[in-house]
């Protein structure tokens, strides 16, 4: 199963993860 997130944000939004990285629920995904 997969979850796709699509969202609008200011252009300076940055993901704090890398492709292929394992992640847990509640962990930081991105920030401004």
């Amino acid at each position: 199963s997969t979850i796709v997130l699509v969202f609008e944000a200011p252009q300076d939004f940055e993901f704090t993860v890398e492709a292929g990285q394992k992640i847990k629920m509640g962990e930081k995904l991105g920030d401004l």
Binding site: V4, L5, E8, Q11, F13, G26, G30
Partner: protein
């Protein structure tokens, strides 16, 4: 065998007309199903999305994946003998890497079936929530992320799919989405002009929506005025002289609408009308990320931020695997598969979350939407590209949708 192969005489019999007709009907039915599977209307109604990929993809496409998924779900719902459960679930955990120290309840004999174990809960505090605007909605692996350009979402490097095909758009020529009778389990209740009670927790509307507090007539911020009076603790008992005679609800609706309009935080329903794909406010962009949940992962998903879900769209589709291998091989897998698009808004504008089903986990549950049924056997499959829609405005009149706080449990994936 050699003698039988060479010496057995071949005798031909004429087929009855009825058998021939039946064969033609079956062939026509298979041809129709295949064309339905291959043709998927693109965002502009002109392009098509076909089942594209290597031979393995086409072999999988010929299988009745939805039926297999339901059989898989049925088998995994069968009750297991109590003596077998600890051994079986430990074997499953060892195979797929589940952490049994964090499950709740920890006693494996309490999970009657593999399906129940698969949809397990976690102990409170097992997943600390980061203090940031966006957190991961689930355990898994980040497959991809980036910026959406020209309404196209990148699946793998060099291959994209349509954002509107993923989320759905109303367009002429397609049947209108069906309105689903909606009975929300969770309710939001307006306490006064600044606070709402959502599932027993009091929220500031402005903090929730990320909008500034309006100044009072004297120019002082509303928050200071708020601190001078007690926060209501029980529904319907507070009295507030500042609330209009029409009642607090109308007052809050008008107030919230005014603030939202001032900030440009308009509902998605309004913004979507006539809006070209991928257009956003100035200095903003559309971002995406894809998180893959492996078979051993915790399979409930949570809200990644504080947002308001305004509508959901259920797309009935195929149930291909969404493993990284398949995502790499099958173009448009996220558009072809059955999925539930939850659309709404957060403090920066549009926000959408799309749980996508797969062969082994075809059923998607949304906690606040009891009417939703996924992976259901149906004789008449809806046309490809259409969706069943529910609007959540009744969940909270003031927020015009289903409010969700960060990390709040939203639903999950069931086996089969």
């Amino acid at each position: 065998l050699a003698d039988a192969w060479t010496q057995t005489p071949t005798k031909w019999y004429p087929l009855p007309v009825a058998v021939g007709a039946l064969l033609l009907i079956v062939l026509q039915y298979r041809r129709t199903r295949r064309s339905e599977k291959e043709v998927h209307v693109d965002e502009d109604g002109q392009g098509v999305v076909k089942l594209k990929g290597p031979w393995q993809v086409h072999v999988l496409g010929a299988l009745p994946l939805n039926s297999l998924s339901r059989v898989w779900g049925f088998l995994n719902s069968l009750e297991l003998p109590v003596w077998f459960r600890p051994f079986g679930f430990k074997l499953y955990s060892w195979t797929f890497g589940c952490n049994l120290d964090e499950i709740n309840p920890p006693d494996l004999t309490q999970y009657a079936s593999l399906g129940e174990f698969f949809y397990r809960k976690l102990k409170p505090g097992a997943r600390p929530v980061a203090d940031t605007v966006l957190v991961s909605p689930a355990d898994g692996r980040v497959l991809h992320y980036g910026v959406i350009r020209d309404g196209r979402v990148e699946q793998i490097k060099g291959a994209t799919y349509s954002l509107d095909a993923l989320l759905g758009v109303e367009r002429p020529g397609l049947p209108p989405p069906a309105n689903v009778e909606f009975h929300p389990r969770d309710q939001a209740e307006v306490l006064d002009r600044d606070f709402a009670d959502i599932n027993g927790i009091q929220y500031s509307l402005h903090d929730f929506l990320g909008t500034p507090r309006p100044p009072t007539a004297e120019g002082a911020p509303q928050q200071e005025q708020k601190e001078q009076k007690p926060v209501p603790t029980k529904h319907g008992e507070q009295t507030d002289a500042s609330v209009s005679p029409d009642g607090p609800l109308q007052d809050v609706v008008a107030h919230e609408a005014g603030v939202a309009a001032e900030m440009g935080v308009r509902p998605f329903l309004e913004r979507a009308q006539g809006r070209p794909a991928g257009s956003v406010k100035p200095e903003h962009a559309l971002f995406f990320t894809v998180i893959y949940l492996a078979p051993g992962d915790y399979h409930r998903f949570h809200s990644p931020t504080a947002w308001v879900v305004e509508k959901r769209r259920h797309f009935v589709g195929d149930l291909f695997s969404v493993s990284p291998w398949m995502v790499d091989k099958l173009a448009d897998v996220f558009v072809l598969n059955e999925r539930v698009a939850l659309l709404g808004r957060w403090k920066y504008g549009f926000f959408g979350m799309v749980p996508v089903g797969a062969t082994n986990v075809g059923s998607i549950k949304i906690n606040f939407d009891q009417a939703l049924r996924t992976n259901v056997a149906t004789r008449h499959r809806p046309p490809v590209g259409t969706f069943e829609e529910a609007v959540y405005t009744s969940a909270s009149p003031v927020l015009r949708g289903q409010p969700l706080s960060k990390a709040q449990e939203m639903g999950g994936f069931y086996l089969g």
